[in-house]
Amino acid sequence: MNTALQADATGAATGLDADRLRADFPILAQEVHGKPLVYLDNGASTQKPNAVIDAVGDFYARDYANIHRGVHTLSERATAAFEGARDRVQRFLNAADRHEIVFTRGTTEAVNLVAASFGGQRIGAGDEIILTGMEHHSNIVPWQLLAERVGAQIRVVPLFDDGSLDLEAYAALFGPRTRLVAVVHVSNALGTVNPVAEMIATAHAHGVPVLVDGAQAVAHARVDVQALDCDFYAFSAHKIYGPSGIGALYGRRELLEAMPPWQGGGDMIRTVAFEGSTWADPPYRFEAGTPHIAGAVGLVAALDYVDGIGLDAIAAHEHDLLAYGTALLEQVPGLRLIGTAADKAAILSFVIDGVHAHDIGTVLDFEGVAVRAGHHCAMPVMTRYGVPATARASLGLYNTRADIDALVRALQRVTEMFG
């Protein structure tokens, strides 16, 4: 371990200068418990660059008003900014049409939207929904609520020990009553990158649409919804260096057009009368109420920032860190990595013999190292591996090999204290 530690603490030659990019994130330049902050909780939420902070601040300082229907100048500006954000997300996901982008509060709300609207209309008693054993609770519970309401069944794709999906078992789950597949693109608890394109092709061969939970994916690899051929794709701005409280659902146009509203309110109607109301076209049909307007502006700044660096460069940088971190963590006595699939992104989830994840998290915090400890809202994954919780270091574009070294040094403190 020491050899590796000394070999290279400066970062790898991946074309991305993380040390320079760190300066764009003011929050990172602070100490915690007297130690430089090492932020390794990006899977929970990413920090914000000045470009995002300033975009949101400037928007409130100059252009803010409610959107749509306002005839005054500020409302026109705010509407242009919000609808411009829709165009930006369309471009980011390479969707065919801007009307396929629905703004939501985040990934969770996007999944709930599809479960309530698409699910409520198309999934009934005896029908089946396929999920995987590595889903986040937000891609399990909305389907359970639906299944309980209508009498549908949930089928679960099992995991191999390395945290990859058993694709043969997946293919065998399809039957005449299968109505939807909902699958996570990148597992937040394991880091597994699922072969979603292949899984979508399998589902489509059975005439079954697929929702992809992209919360952990969009900040780590380029996503092209047309190339994936997915039917729904959901993500949150706060996991890609943007504000919390806003995200987007991509929905294939013909699916969205056939779907009923799921929340009623302003903006989602065409006409309202007590005898009956009519609905706006997508995406507005699914956007009741005043949205997080400044959040959309911040999301644009975040996507511009990320695309400015390039997702390929970010992915290469993070893969280098992942390989570096995996090699070092494997040498920590008593440490076991949870999630060792061949195709992984940005997540190092682990347990240490005889030490609870929460104690690891607290000791690391004393060393300035921020990780997450717990079940990561993926309790079925914890059950699968027979652990109550894991500690998880999750990487972002501003992390460096020095951050990984700090993590490993801090883990030595854990071993000293609890070993």
Partner: protein, 147 residues
């Protein structure tokens, strides 16, 4: 490290590693389950109460050093005590870790948990066993959660 040692005092580390009164208690006449959904910790408390006195107290489950040590030290503190005193100690412990930090007169060794007060996310670890004990004293059969 000095601050960290105030949280993880030697007594806590010791009881976290080697919990006392750990395991089933066949003579128990009251039980309760506790659950901390934040971290997934599960705890079961077995209580043998006779003539209003805690004759024996055991616990089982998985948890962090703080929750395990808290449960372990609790079983030692309460064994042989009248029920009323157990409730009094519960109040004092709660005041120590979640209240204004007052160190009650009956706490004894339990004062080592005073450091937990500085870590709001860990207070629930320290109090899980005690909440579960309360439920066992009532024995109303409901699972206790820290939420």
């Amino acid at each position: 490290m000095s601050d960290l040692r105030e949280l993880y005092q030697e007594v806590i580390l010791d009881h976290g590693r080697k919990p006392r009164n750990f395991g089933p208690l066949p003579e128990a006449n009251r039980h309760a389950d506790g659950h901390n959904p934040l971290c997934g910790d599960q705890l079961r408390v077995h209580l043998q109460v006779e003539n209003g006195v805690v004759k024996a107290l055991h616990f089982e489950g998985v948890g962090c050093a703080i929750s395990t040590a808290s449960a372990s030290l609790m079983t030692q503190a309460l064994t042989g005590k009248p029920e009323a005193e157990a409730r009094q100690l519960y109040d004092e412990f709660h005041e120590l870790v979640a209240g204004d930090g007052t160190s009650g007169e009956h706490l004894g060794k339990l004062v080592v948990f005073g450091g937990v007060r500085e870590y709001p996310s860990r207070v629930k670890c320290a109090t899980l066993a005690w909440h579960t004990l309360q439920a066992a004293l009532e024995d109303d059969g409901r699972e206790v959660t820290t939420e």
